[in-house]
Symmetry: C4
Subunit: 292 residues, 4 copies
């Protein structure tokens, strides 16, 4: 019965790796989370040349430990899953592989800059553990508000891009290369820096006319920053109303509610009130009504 | 029947150029869109001096191809339209002509900077193809919100301008020419850079007093950035309510709705209240009620 | 009857200067508005040293013309008003005098910088002509929203100031004089520049720890920029509801409206409905009700 | 009876120091507030080296006066309170001690930078006097809005941090050390500077690709600045509704309200509709109605 015990062993591994309901499963998630964050911190520390020069060996060994841990985890994932190929070519399967290989590649090819990018991809693995996507989905109000505003914000950003292109060309002509507006793409870049109120100041208009146009761009940006905010704000209010089931009343409903009440006639005969508008006869005793 | 076939040929051309319902019409629009965007990219690339130096011939030939395409399109538009003069002097007619001529002018006068501006005008042609104006108009909520807020935002921007002028003059006096506030218009420019929270940093206060006043300006700007946002947000909510027909209830309507319920009868026998209107008997003890 | 004609002449002058209902009154306002704006433009142009050097005479003569015009206007205002002293010591009376005197003072004392400030005060006179204060007051929604938010924004700004002082002291200790944080007031200035997202960049943290703290300050600023915006936005919505008379419904009103409707009992005897809750007898025929 | 008078004297001291209801109590609070603010101003002035050089003696003496005042106050607080140890180890007790000791420490150890931090802690004492915490708590709407949005803003900020890390790594690879992106943490710092639209400009992208990515980051930041604003704005509106008791109507309530009116009777004689409930006669022709 070797296969059976192997099967049991495999399903247990699956439970530990893919589920978070058991204590071991939770522990696995926590350890993995720490390993991922540690690997990200390593990438950051390595990029600081002073730190790298001093603690190169420590960084190297740590990266090897993490690489070996990730390798074991990757193999365990393949072994424990029913359809290994499906996992290997899934989104997280590819991310897992790419997170594991950089150190092996650097053995063969030497450390290149591109490997840093691969290692930074490990951050995406955090999403699986924290189930962030699901959590964000759960906060329905926010998700719905953004979803509902998406199209409008797209139209809006498109308008911003066209404005940036036109103003960028104008600023290139007005300021010219001597003031840092060396070409139109750079001018458009400056325009977006200004419209979004970031304002690095690496490029800044120097001529009076350029500064005047910049003023217009800034006030425009100041005015239009209100638009996406207003959209999200209003959509969020709406989404929040839908969720609580509370809502505004419609014109039609108010009309319906009012039909009962609108009339001030009272019957001479039986003193009945609440006749519909333009009633000719009392609804209670049938006596003819005299209009005021 | 030469004129007749010519007429048919002409009306077909009109269909292709001015309408987008037929496959050929759609194809024409797509080709034109690509040509316009390509011509804009050419203008951008040409402005990058390193690129221009290396690929001058390629840029020159591409510009000629686009110019010839635009020329053919311009002539085709004149030929196919019923009243050519009306088209020639229309907004898009003038834009089309200005989009076509720069290369011809450069042949005669040599390439000048002003021609770049003419070529950048081609971007406006995108609006006709994408029918952007119409699309923006269709998103009624956004358009209505902006329309409704227009006057208020104008008043608001006017107040910003006056504040900028007053603070600009003060900063000119406090900081003076040695700290970059060389004259009042430049000082006002700096003030708007600060109020809009852009903050290039090309000019920055250096004296303690100047920095103190700058602090006030910034906090002011921080506070007033809320105003246009609040306006658009509230107007957008209102516009959105109008569109769905849902709305808030008025005081008067609540009063009307409540008249049904305002029965002040109380039973002589058991003193019970809240009888429905026109009750004949007490709902509690069954005693007959006397109407007031 | 000399005094009588003089009186008529005086009241006519009053009508022209202080009222805007007659054509001459309107013309006077327009001319004055142009003169004020022209005088502001003159102050600006004079501050541009290149322009001042070239057109000094033109600026000098223009300033004299405007000064004489303002002098005549000032005298006319005193003459035509019933209680001249009240006018002279009123807010606008003082502004009018200060707007007029700078050129006379410069004759005696020579042109000093402080006179520029006096001349810039002329801008305040625009408010009287445009009746801006009244206009702003008329747009009740905006005014009410700002008024209603005033206290909250004040509390909020106070919190911002305390945060700026604490973070400013920390940054002074962390970054020190060598990185531009020369003293605590300057450090607080930098903190407000950062919290308001202006970010001049004249001072910027250079140490890793300083940059880390700056990150916290920025994210804090990013988060709290939402607060005044949210306040104004919500208050504006409320103010806008109050103006249209439309409003949300209160809990109590819903309760009142529902009392009529809540009961589904119908009388066995006469089939009457809409009995109040816990009715024992039919309100129409007095027949005893059986509870469901 | 010496202990008794001592007790009375002690309870009077307690009243003055810990309560603000009596005139002496109020005076004590005002004097203390002035002393605290004065001590903060002293810390600021001392940090300005030019000022410190000139008025070193004045600053030194003032600090001694304030230190002695705070010492007396600290001793008085211990003496007048019932359980002195509880006060000494309370939050404000520790703050009070730390506010008092810096000058004594500097006598022993000489003035160090760390003492400045201790002295800046005095600002926290303002909270006790102004009862700011309580005041902020009283403005329920604002507090509730922030409390209700807290979780969502946290998720949001977490997403911003992940975006900053990923874009920071990309920018480090694209721009490299020669353009100021010396390491990944610095690159992430730049990313947050850009996303929050602060934009110091101490580091700015110099390569075309880096500027293109920066454009995406800025537009992203521009788009997402809307999210926390929208959240706070909507939550504030809700909190404000809860406080006034006004609210939106629920679907269910509208249904209930409409049941009154849903009379489906039509007159056999003239086919008139919209009779009030329980009508006996048609309001149009007076014909008797038969109930369904």
């Amino acid at each position: 019965m070797e296969t059976s015990t192997k099967h049991t062993w495999r399903s247990k591994l699956h439970e530990i790796i893919y589920e978070a309901d058991t204590p071991t499963g939770k522990l696995f998630d926590v350890v993995l989370l720490i390993a991922i964050l540690a690997s990200i911190v390593l990438v950051m520390l390595e990029s600081i040349s002073a730190f790298d020069a001093k603690y190169h060996d420590f960084l190297n060994i740590s990266e090897w430990i993490i690489t070996i841990l990730f390798s074991i985890e990757y193999i365990a994932r393949i072994v424990s899953v029913k359809r290994p190929l499906k996992y290997v070519f899934s989104f997280y399967g590819i991310i897992d592989l790419l997170s594991t290989v950089p150190k092996y590649i650097s053995l063969m090819l030497g450390g290149t800059q591109a490997l840093v990018a691969l290692r930074a991809l490990r951050l995406l693995r955090v999403f699986r553990i924290l189930k962030l996507a699901r959590y964000l989905g759960a906060s329905n109000q926010l998700a719905n508000a953004i979803k509902a505003s998406r199209a409008k914000i797209a139209v809006f950003l498109f308008a911003v891009l066209i404005a940036a292109t036109i103003f960028g060309t104008i600023m290139y002509l007005v300021e010219g290369e001597e003031n840092g507006f060396t070409n139109i793409p750079k001018s458009i870049y400056w325009c977006i820096v200004t419209l979004t109120t970031v304002g690095f100041g690496d490029i800044a208009p120097a001529t009076p006319l350029g500064q005047f146009i910049a003023t217009i761009i800034m006030i425009l940006g100041y005015g239009i920053i209100a638009v996406p905010t207003g959209i999200v704000s209003a959509e969020y209010t709406k989404a929040s109303e839908n969720e609580t089931g509370k809502r505004l009343i419609t014109d039609e409903e108010v009309e319906q509610l009012k039909t009962v009440i609108r009339n001030t006639q009272s019957c001479e005969n039986c003193l009945a009130e609440k006749h519909p508008d333009h009633s000719h006869f009392c609804h209670k005793c049938g006596h003819e009504l005299h209009h005021d």
